[in-house]
Subunit: 136 residues, 2 copies
């Protein structure tokens, strides 16, 4: 259990060790530290030791999702930094929106690729089943 959890904001300030996160998300501690090197994470420290909170945990989850989508860590950084940055000026906002649309276009292309591939693999699987029936 966690000492720094009041009855008011229970679990809101839950913290995690590096191995906690490594186990939960099935990655190595080396990888997590590497993401920090790349400025994708910036946990608090108690002395030398890294202390991760909910926000860090969420960012890690986003990083891994980005990786599953085939994005580089640099791209992942771009994306998740969109989530919590608040650009002030108009020009910046416009640029930002353009960036977002670009990403969305890529994702939609990917989604289409997935549909096609799923259909094709489905067809191949069917052929396999047909073949199996022939054999029996």
């Amino acid at each position: 259990m966690n000492a720094n959890v009041s009855h008011l904001d229970r679990d809101a300030e839950a913290t995690f060790s590096i191995t906690d996160l490594a186990n939960e998300f099935d990655v190595t501690t080396r990888a997590i530290r590497f993401y920090e090197d790349q400025n994708l994470l910036s946990p608090k420290r108690r002395g030398q030791t890294r202390i991760y909170d909910q926000r860090d945990r969420t960012r890690l989850k986003l990083i891994l999702r980005g990786k599953r989508l085939g994005f580089s860590l640099a791209e992942v950084g771009e994306i998740i930094n969109m989530y919590d940055s608040e650009p002030g000026e108009k020009a910046q906002l416009d640029f930002f929106i353009a960036k977002i649309r670009e990403r969305c276009a890529m994702l939609k292309q990917q989604r289409e690729d997935i549909e096609v591939t799923l259909a094709e693999l489905g067809a191949v699987e069917k052929r396999c089943h047909d073949r199996l029936k022939e054999l029996k």
Copy 2:
């Protein structure tokens, strides 16, 4: 135009040079040759020169689609080899079907990741627009 195209199977036997394909799919010839090194392509040869046909062209298209989905070339190889291989024995077929299901599961996970990310990016874009209206 192509010399070796009869009126019966027009374009069915169309061939392409390496730069043809490079231009069409916007990749370098180096990349295409590299895919051949990895046994993902195996064009005919006229002397030294590589001659690509429709099947090669299709395979290249599949390779690039796989890459867009974030698969490694090794994984891409596994996938596209499913399309034209005809496994004979039952054990092989079972293994094959298992492989296919595994791939499909990954793709469905990816599709879900995409939906979530699209939704989140959509929300961020909306926030940007709201912010823009405030500024005006």
